[in-house]
C-alpha cells in the first residue's frame, strides 16, 4: 500500500517537473506554486481556457497595482 502511494507520488513529481519545464519554454509566467494550484483546479474540472482567462485577469490587476506603487503621487 505504502509502496503504491510512493510510486504515485514519484509519478506526480516527475510529471510536474516536465510540466514546469514545458511551462518555462512556452513562457507562460507560471512558477511551481501557481502551476501546482492550476493543476489542482484542472483536476477539479475547471475549464483550462477559462482558467487561463482568470490568470491573465489576475496578472493585469496585480500589474496595475505594482505600476501605481512605482509612481508616487
Amino acid at each position: 500500500m505504502a509502496s503504491a502511494t510512493n510510486t504515485n507520488l514519484n509519478a506526480v513529481r516527475e510529471t510536474m517537473d516536465v510540466l514546469l519545464e514545458i511551462s518555462r519554454l512556452l513562457n507562460t509566467g507560471l512558477d511551481m506554486e501557481s502551476l501546482s494550484i492550476c493543476v489542482r483546479l484542472c483536476e477539479q474540472g475547471i475549464n483550462p481556457e477559462a482558467l487561463s482567462a482568470v490568470i491573465k485577469e489576475l496578472r493585469k490587476a496585480s500589474e496595475t497595482l505594482k505600476v501605481s506603487e512605482n509612481c508616487p503621487n
Binding site: 507520488l9 506526480v12 507562460t28 494550484i37 475549464n47 482568470v54 496585480s62
Partner: protein
C-alpha cells in the same frame, strides 16, 4: 484536496507576491481589500467564460484548432519555433513532450487539460531578459 474557492484564493495570493503592503496600507489600500477585489475579478473571468461557452451559436463553425488535442498543439508550436529559427527550443519542447506521461502513469487525472492551459498561456509572460 482543497476546494475550488480555496484554490482560487491561493491563486490570488500568488499574484500578489512582490507587492509592498506596508506602503500600500499608508495609502489606504489594504491587502485584504485588494485580495477581495482580485477574487471578484477571478470569479468574473471564470463565470463570463462559462456563460460564453453556454451561449455558443450553433451556426458558427468551430475553429479546426479548437478540437486539436493539446499535444498536437504543442507540436505545432515546435514547428513554428523551427520556422522562426529557434531549433534548440523546438527540440527541447519535443523532448519534454515525449517525456510527459499519458493517462494514469502521469499520476494526474487531467494532464491534457493542464497542457491545454499551458498552450493558452504560451507567450503571455514578458520574455526573459537577454544577456549580452
Amino acid at each position: 484536496s482543497s476546494s475550488i474557492t480555496e484554490l482560487l484564493s491561493a491563486l490570488c495570493d500568488c499574484s500578489l507576491s512582490g507587492v509592498s503592503w506596508k506602503r500600500r496600507a499608508l495609502g489606504g489600500v489594504s491587502r485584504d481589500a485588494f485580495h477581495r477585489a482580485l477574487k471578484k475579478k477571478a470569479y468574473g473571468a471564470l463565470l463570463s467564460k462559462l456563460f460564453q461557452d453556454g451561449t455558443k451559436r450553433p451556426a458558427l463553425r468551430p475553429s479546426p484548432v479548437a478540437n486539436t488535442p493539446p499535444r498536437n498543439k504543442v507540436l505545432m508550436m515546435c514547428f513554428d519555433l523551427r520556422v522562426a529559427g529557434c531549433r534548440d527550443e523546438a527540440e527541447a519542447l519535443e523532448d519534454l513532450l515525449g517525456r510527459l506521461p499519458e493517462g494514469a502513469s502521469s499520476g494526474l487525472t487531467e494532464v491534457d487539460s493542464v497542457l491545454e492551459l499551458l498552450v493558452c498561456l504560451a507567450g503571455s509572460a514578458p520574455p526573459p531578459p537577454t544577456s549580452f
